[in-house]
């Protein structure tokens, strides 16, 4: 837990090393930040489309991590993985947008606040 608590300082120290050598860790932290931004979007936005975009951001965070590790290990598996992630994201996006359109049709809105019929 103290590891978690001390992470802001660690983050600060990582940022302080701007201009220095960029390690895989930098990329991982960056990917976490991107992931976190996406997560923030998913949670705070009401517009379903924007939420989808935030999700894409989260996936991109993972992508970054893969590529960083791929580079780190010097093999291409990570890159190939990203290829698949992009493919999956595309497929997902297609279906997701379809669902959003369907939602707009039945509810006249893509506001997630209108999608609270199911609860409990």
């Amino acid at each position: 837990m103290d590891m978690l608590l001390s992470s802001p300082t660690l983050l600060a120290s990582a940022l302080a090393s701007i201009g220095g050598e960029i390690t895989t860790s930098h990329y991982i932290v960056l990917s976490a930040l991107i992931f976190g931004v996406g997560l923030f979007g998913v949670i705070t936005r009401k517009n379903a489309v924007v939420i989808l975009m935030s999700l894409e951001l989260m996936l991109n965070g993972a992508n970054l991590a893969f590529v960083a590790f791929s580079r780190h290990h010097g093999n291409l598996q990570g890159q190939v993985f990203v290829f698949f992630i992009i493919a999956v994201a595309a497929a997902e996006a297609a279906v997701a947008l379809a669902i959003i359109i369907a939602m707009n049709r039945v509810k006249g809105s893509v506001n997630l606040d209108d999608a609270t019929e199911l609860k409990g």
Binding site: M1, I43, L112, D113, L118, K119
Partner: protein, 651 residues
């Protein structure tokens, strides 16, 4: 199996077979049922006579005990069998003989009643239970039949089950006896395991014969052990005596007996004369060897008897129900017997028990006849002058009264004299006081019986329906019992009067003797002074009754007014019922209600609260998902991080 044991089993089981036959086959056939019951009793009586001839016969070489294993676990063996010694044969003779009379009487008395077959079945069962106590070979078997007597009495007292009073009386009898049984069970177990602890498995036993051997043992070490544990053993003995207290209706567990009059009169007769109440006295006789060594035990017994005799006699004065008068007289006489036991004179007690059986059965059946003749009227104030309309009943009743009052030469005189003699020389603490009480009771007995007879048979008829004499099926037994009441005294005319006297005592010596070292064992002698005092007391009592009720020389009302508090006390029967009622209604019911409250409002609440809490949590968990997707995502992600962090920290 030798014939004697066979007789024993026949005596024991004949009434049971009758019960079974009636219950299974002849519930709808009244006449057949009664004949089966009487037949069963007759068989038992016949076998009994045969057994008596052998036991009391000249060549008394027989094996008195026959047992089979009833239950055996480990070292504990509970036998079942018959013990055919003088005491039990004597007693069973009374039970079957008097019982037979009462059975026959019942066929007349119960005419037209519903549940005739049920009545005879229960009567037979009752006889079976009583015979079981009498013939029992061991404590557990005695206890079994002890309880069965309670149960069958419950059935008989509650015979008129549509009457609340009868039902409640039955319940009361059963429960009071249960309290006694509680003590008795405790006593038996305590006794047995005390013996086991001190003498080992081999010697401890429930069997009377084996126990007697222990108590009579001359082995100094056993004597030493028994002496060392005398406190526990005396306690056990007294606990067993509790059973006798309840069954023989000694104060303070006597309350059921007067209420038991709710049953049909023949039942009262059977219960009061030969069975049930006699069981307690019989038990103490049977176990006398256990009481004898402990003065404290004997003292308690004696005092309990004396007090009962006195208290009950007092209440008998203020009763108006003819059966209640007799009931309290029974209590009083039982007190007498117990007094005799406490004084170390079991033979005298048995003697009185025998004579009492005859004359009390006679009196009860006589009262039954009176009640029957008066169209089921029991209040003496509504009787009077019956001697003309019911001559046979009157004369037999008179004989019974004379015997009860202790007028020579009726049987009651001899037995009462034996008891008073024993009391006069007794060793227990306060024996002289007890002797005085005995004499006083003799006086009172004569007085209240005089009152009863005068109110019932003399003067003018005060009732409405026309009285009539009873049929021969009822008067016949009366005559038989009257004869017995007159002559039963010969069983044990004291040696001082007759060369052949003391037969009963002699016969019972084997069964009831105390251990050899017992100092208080009383050799029965005829004490003229005692006889004179007793007779004078009885005559004075009759005189008082005559003056108050027949001649009305002295006003009963003014006398009552003079002793108002005492009268009230007697009318309220010393407030025993009230006290018990208070206990039951307040203490016991409060405990019950409290437990009921705990059950419903605490335990069930707790269980329901557990369920309720679970449900509440369920409701809360459900609220987590409120339909808003962003909360879901938060829950998922935040949850994920927290779980991971928790695991990491945990590791």
């Amino acid at each position: 199996m030798e014939p004697l044991a066979l007789y024993g089993y026949i005596i024991l089981f004949a009434p049971l077979v009758a019960t079974a036959l009636i219950t299974c086959f002849t519930l709808k056939h009244k006449a057949v049922s009664s004949w089966i019951a009487i037949g069963g009793m007759l068989v038992a009586f016949g076998a009994n006579v045969l057994a008596a001839m052998q036991v009391f016969g000249a060549d008394a070489s027989f094996e008195p005990v026959h047992e089979i294993e009833w239950l055996s676990v480990g070292h504990v063996m509970i036998p079942f069998g018959v013990q055919m010694d003088a005491l039990s044969v004597m007693m069973s003779l009374i039970v079957t003989g008097v019982g037979l009379c009462i059975f026959v009487f019942s066929t007349g008395y119960m005419k037209g009643e519903d549940g005739w077959s049920r009545y005879f079945a229960c009567l037979s069962l009752f006889s079976f239970s009583m015979l079981g106590i009498v013939l029992s070979t061991n404590l557990i078997q005695t206890f079994i039949f002890w309880e069965l007597v309670g149960v069958s009495s419950y059935a008989l007292i509650g015979y008129y089950f549509h009457k609340d009073s009868a039902v409640d009386a039955g319940k009361k009898a059963f429960l009071t006896n249960r309290i006694g049984d509680f003590g008795m069970t405790w006593g038996i177990i305590l006794l047995f395991y005390t013996l086991v602890d001190t003498l080992g498995w081999e010697r401890a036993s429930f069997s009377y014969e084996k126990l007697k051997l222990l108590y009579h043992a001359s082995d100094p070490l056993i004597v030493q052990v028994m002496a060392d544990h005398s406190g526990t053993l005396a306690l056990a003995t007294l606990l067993i005596f509790t059973g006798a207290v309840a069954k023989s209706a000694q104060v303070p567990l006597h309350v059921w007996l007067p209420d038991a009059m709710e049953g049909p009169t023949p039942v009262s007769a059977l219960m009061h004369a030969a069975t049930m109440v006699a069981a307690g006295v019989f038990l103490v006789c049977r176990l006398f060897f256990m009481f004898a060594p402990y003065e404290i035990a004997l003292g308690v017994v004696a005092w309990m008897g004396g007090i009962t005799a006195l208290l009950a006699a007092g209440v008998a004065f203020v009763q108006h129900d003819i059966k209640k008068v007799l009931a309290y007289s029974t209590l009083s006489q039982l007190g007498y017997m117990v007094l005799a036991l406490g004084m170390g004179a079991p033979a005298a007690a048995m003697f009185h028990l025998t004579t009492h059986a005859f004359f009390k059965a006679l009196l009860f059946l006589g009262s039954g006849s009176v009640i029957y003749g008066c169209h089921h009227e029991q209040d003496m104030r509504k009787m009077g002058g019956l001697r003309k309309t019911m001559p046979v009943t009157f004369w037999t009743f008179m004989i019974g009264t004379a015997a009860l009052a202790g007028i020579a030469p009726f049987s009651g005189f001899w037995s009462k004299d034996a008891i008073l003699s024993a009391a006069s020389v007794g060793h227990v603490p306060g024996a002289p006081i007890l002797y005085g009480m005995g004499v006083l009771v003799a006086l009172m007995t004569a007085a209240y019986m005089g009152r009863c007879v005068i109110l019932t048979f003399f003067g003018e008829y005060r009732g409405h329906a026309k009285p009539h004499e009873s049929p021969v099926s009822m008067t016949g037994p009366l005559v038989v019992l009257a004869t017995a009441s007159v002559f039963a005294g010969v069983l044990s005319i004291p040696k001082g009067i007759s060369e052949h006297g003391g037969w009963l005592e002699h016969a019972l010596v084997g069964a009831t003797t105390a251990p050899v070292w017992f100092p208080g064992m009383h050799e029965e002698v005829f004490l003229p002074s005692v006889a004179i005092v007793g007779t004078v007391a009885a005559l004075f009592g009759l005189f008082l009754a005559y003056m108050f009720y027949a001649k009305k020389a002295w006003s009963i009302d003014s006398f009552v007014a003079a002793v108002k508090p005492l009268h009230t006390l007697l009318e309220k029967k010393y407030y025993f019922d009230e006290a018990y009622l208070w206990l039951v209604a307040n203490v016991q019911q409060t405990i019950a209600e409290t437990c009921g409250f705990i059950e419903v409002h605490v335990l069930r609440r707790i269980v329901d609260a557990v369920a309720g809490t679970t449900r509440w949590f369920g409701g809360q968990v459900r609220l987590l998902l409120d339909g808003h997707l962003h909360r879901y995502v938060t829950l998922a992600l935040f949850g994920a991080v927290v779980i991971i962090a928790a695991v990491l920290v945990g590791n």
